[in-house]
């Protein structure tokens, strides 16, 4: 998985969690909660959906890595790829 593909996966989850938001112009380097209405429960939703849909676990200590699309891609892409390698 490329980082761009990873961002797409995260955006798909956010589209379900924040259905009122326009995700057409999300700036990848800006914190997600600074450009849309996301609270701490919504971030827990992102964590839950990564777990449910993709089997990806994000420990609480790493939640900070989900701040922006860029940081999500940095953090999650290796996890997706490790999971894929396991088969």
């Amino acid at each position: 998985m490329t980082k761009d593909e990873c961002k797409k996966v995260v955006l798909e989850i956010i589209a379900d969690i924040a259905p009122d938001e326009d995700l057409g112009n999300v700036k990848p380097d800006v914190r997600l909660r600074d450009q849309m209405q996301l609270d701490s429960m919504d971030f827990l939703d992102i964590v839950m959906e990564l777990r449910k849909r993709h089997g990806i676990e994000v420990p609480e200590a790493d939640y900070v890595q989900l701040a922006s699309l860029d940081s999500c891609a940095e953090y999650l892409t290796p996890k997706f790829n490790a999971l894929a390698a396991k088969g």
Binding site: D16, I17, A18, P19, D20, Q37, M41, L44, D45, M48, R51, K52
Partner: protein, 424 residues
């Protein structure tokens, strides 16, 4: 001096009078009071079919309001159906009252919402959800607790409307709709709040457990025609049709309502709540009659002074007979101007919303002097043959000054509410 004192007494008296100034509702046959009323007069039932988890197709009363009228998609995703119904009804009631929410002192507003139950829907959903993950609880939603706390429906309304006064639910089984109104009246009279949103809501059709429970109790209605399935007082009645719905009112003290020139639907003039203390599910006609008589006494009325009696009857074979025994004991003789009806025959049993919705259906009678009937009675059960029962066709009457609204619930909770035509 004497005249000052009289004025003081009059003012005090007006402050203790509580009036209905707005109605917001959603029922299986209407999403506003005019639509609901018209369908009650036209004999239009709102029962259909619905897929229920584990149980297949069942009869149910489903509401068709537009949840996006007052909520964002995200609110709907995070919240509950009962919360959404509460928000819709509260916003509709506010709009109907003509009060500007922006200028209302929100810390002086109370939200009191009756519920039969709350939390079953979300708990069942979460158990179903984790069943897809081998019952691993790490897949259990972090929204489970805010969705299932008992105050959820009132809390969601407070969030949506920005109300910062007391907002909570009243658990009173199927008497809960009346209890919402009664409790709000008490809080207004005590001066705890200056404005109240109150009534009842139900999301019960979204929990299979309610259906399965009634089915196991042999109390779930069946009929090939959904519109005919809910038939209180009919000899062939065979149980309850479960419905969702909601009805919230705005209540104010009379002096406040008069000061702003509010439209007044009626005055909350009497009520009583008691308990059977005799059985988990079987109603007790002696206690029900006691409840009705106590409400009449509080209002200084005789039985013959009541012009419309709304029955709670849910179409269970025994429950209807028990209630009719209670009604007969109070209104059986010497009440030529008392007319008796039932709303569940149109909308099924809306549980915590039932009492509040049924009252709303009768309120327009103050203006149109028409009593909506009980429909679906093809063969009246002789044990339910009350004098004054209005069957299948609306009845034009000479006078409607008083409505007595009965609502009873499991564990033997009984409630009676009396609303009078407003006379200054």
């Amino acid at each position: 001096m004497a005249s000052d004192f009289r004025l003081h007494l009059m003012k005090q008296s007006q402050q203790s009078r509580v009036v209905i100034t707005g109605v917001g509702l959603t029922s299986p046959n209407g999403n506003s009071l005019p639509e609901f009323r018209q369908n009650l007069l036209n004999g239009v039932a709102g029962i259909g079919r619905m897929e229920i988890r584990y149980m297949g197709t069942q009869l149910a009363g489903v509401c068709h309001y537009d949840p996006l009228k007052y909520q964002k998609k995200k609110e709907l995703r995070v919240g509950t159906r009962a919360g959404s119904i509460s928000i819709y009804c509260a916003r509709e009631a506010m709009a109907d009252s003509g009060v500007n929410l922006e200028t209302l002192p929100k810390d002086r507003v109370g939200i009191y919402i009756g519920c039969t139950e709350h939390g079953n829907v979300e708990t069942e959903n979460e158990i179903y959800n984790i069943s897809k993950f081998n019952y691993d609880t790490k897949y259990w939603s972090h929204y489970h607790n805010p969705r299932t706390v008992a105050n959820n429906p009132a809390g969601e309304a407070s969030l949506n409307l920005g109300i910062t006064g007391p907002a909570y639910t009243i658990g009173a089984a199927c008497a809960a709709g009346n209890l919402g109104l009664i409790h709000a009246s008490q809080m207004l009279r005590l001066g705890e709040v200056d404005f109240a949103l109150c009534g009842g809501v139900s999301e019960s059709i979204h929990t299979f457990g309610i259906f399965a429970g009634f089915k196991s109790q042999n109390a779930l209605a069946t009929h090939e025609d959904p519109k005919k399935a809910s038939r209180p007082f009919d000899k062939a009645r065979n149980g309850i049709v479960i419905s969702e719905g909601g009805c919230l009112y705005t209540l104010e003290r009379l002096d406040d309502a008069l000061a702003r020139g509010a439209k007044i639907y009626g005055e909350i003039s009497g009520y009583h709540v008691n308990s059977d203390a005799s059985d988990y599910v079987l109603p007790n006609p002696v206690r029900q009659a006691e409840c009705v008589r106590a409400a009449l006494r509080r209002d200084g009325l005789e039985a013959r002074d009541i012009h419309i009696v709304n029955t709670h009857a849910t179409a269970t074979p025994l429950g209807d007979i028990q209630e009719c025994e209670a009604i007969r004991a109070v209104f059986g003789e010497g009440c030529p101007d008392t007319h008796i009806n039932n709303t569940k025959s149109y909308i099924g049993h809306a549980m915590g919303a039932a009492g509040a919705l049924e009252l709303a259906g009768n309120l327009p009678s103050f203006d149109d002097l028409t009593v909506h009937p009980t429909i679906n009675v093809d063969d009246l059960d002789p044990l339910c043959a009350l004098p004054g029962l209005v069957l299948n066709q609306p009845r034009k009457v000479a006078k409607v000054d008083t409505i007595l609204n009965n609502s009873f619930g499991m564990l033997g909770i009984n409630s009676t509410l009396i609303v009078r035509r407003f006379v200054p």
